[in-house]
Amino acid sequence: MGKAPVVEGASTDAAAGRARERAALALVAAMVALLAALLGAGVAAAKLHRPPYGIKPPTRPKQFDVVTHFATANVSRPIYRRPSTRARVLRRLAFYTPDGEALQTYRFITSRRIGRTLWERIDVPMRPNGQTGWVKRAWLGPVRTSHTLIVVRRALEELFVYRAGRLIFTAPVGVGNVANRWSTPPGRYWIAEAFASTDPFYGPWAFGTTDYANDTEFPDGSIVGIHGTDAPWLIPGDPSHGCVRLKDQDILKLKNLVGIGTAVWIQ
């Protein structure tokens, strides 16, 4: 008896089948490897975009990240319209605010060195609002800084307090009555006074700003204040002669958050 004949065609087919099988497996493996590589690259890319050392990207709006530099006067010298002692005089540096409640502060805007003299451009609290002038740096005392900002939105009848650009407090307010021409003048000012009040009309605490109101019936220049009230049912609203009124509990909270030098934006 001889051996069973070898069917060459069958073995070739099996080998081809195994080869195809191996090729399919290799293809799948390659696809898996490629996918893994792509995923790894994506993760790496995401890691690259993440700031190093745990620094978070800024989320606070820079618009309200305001720093105010201010100082009091050392001497009563003239404030000039230009950085020159031969320029016209705007007024003189004052030691105290018009009502004597605090030392008068002046806000720095910019500086310029002319020869060996450093001149500072400052905001001058006076009528009309928005006056600026130039003084020598030596005429002003050491610089103080404030990082807080009060924004009063008259249309919303709301007050917002920011520290380093971050909102930390908000409260309803009563603003100036437009119908009687007592509107609170808009602009950028700062707090010049802060003191306890014994007059219930002004509540337990009051801040004086460098804003001058349109109502000239009041003496001492009609300073716009931020204070409490003995009529909280009028808040929010527009009951005042120009001042910004808060409820007593809100002014007491505000007292602990802001102080002299805090920027005040009336919008």
Binding site: T72, R144, I223, G259
Partner: protein, 128 residues
């Protein structure tokens, strides 16, 4: 025998071995602009008096009233710092008040500086 001459100078300034004598200086930290409640005490910031020739006398006055008077003997001191000095406001009227600082060196030169503070009024004067 030649007499021995000492080349050690006891003067702090003003000869060929030392720098020129300068006027005394008064350096203070920023004042608080906020008013002080009537009857409380006003805390002065840290004040440093310097003189390269030597301080003889330091005087601090509130108006005509002397709050502090310090005298040094001999060569005096080149630097003196006053911390946590308080001024009583009892009896002071509302409004601004000056504090005069005066330092005199051993050569008799004086320098003055005026600091100011305000006593609060009870009623603000705002538009309301």
């Amino acid at each position: 025998m030649a007499a021995a001459h000492s080349h050690v100078s006891t003067r702090r300034c003003g000869n060929k071995y030392t720098p020129a004598c300068t006027k005394p200086r008064i350096i203070n930290r920023a004042l608080s602009a906020k008013c002080v409640s009537a009857g409380s005490k006003y805390k002065l910031p840290k004040i440093t008096f310097t003189s390269n020739s030597g301080i003889r006398r330091i005087q601090i006055r509130e108006g005509a009233r002397t709050i502090k008077l310090i005298r040094f003997k001999g060569q005096g001191r080149t630097q003196y710092t006053i911390k946590r000095l308080q001024v009583a406001t009892l009896g002071l009227v509302a409004g601004g008040h000056p504090i005069i600082l005066r330092v005199t060196d051993i050569r008799g030169r004086s320098v003055s500086k005026t600091l100011r503070f305000s006593v609060c009024k009870a009623t603000p004067v705002f538009t309301g």
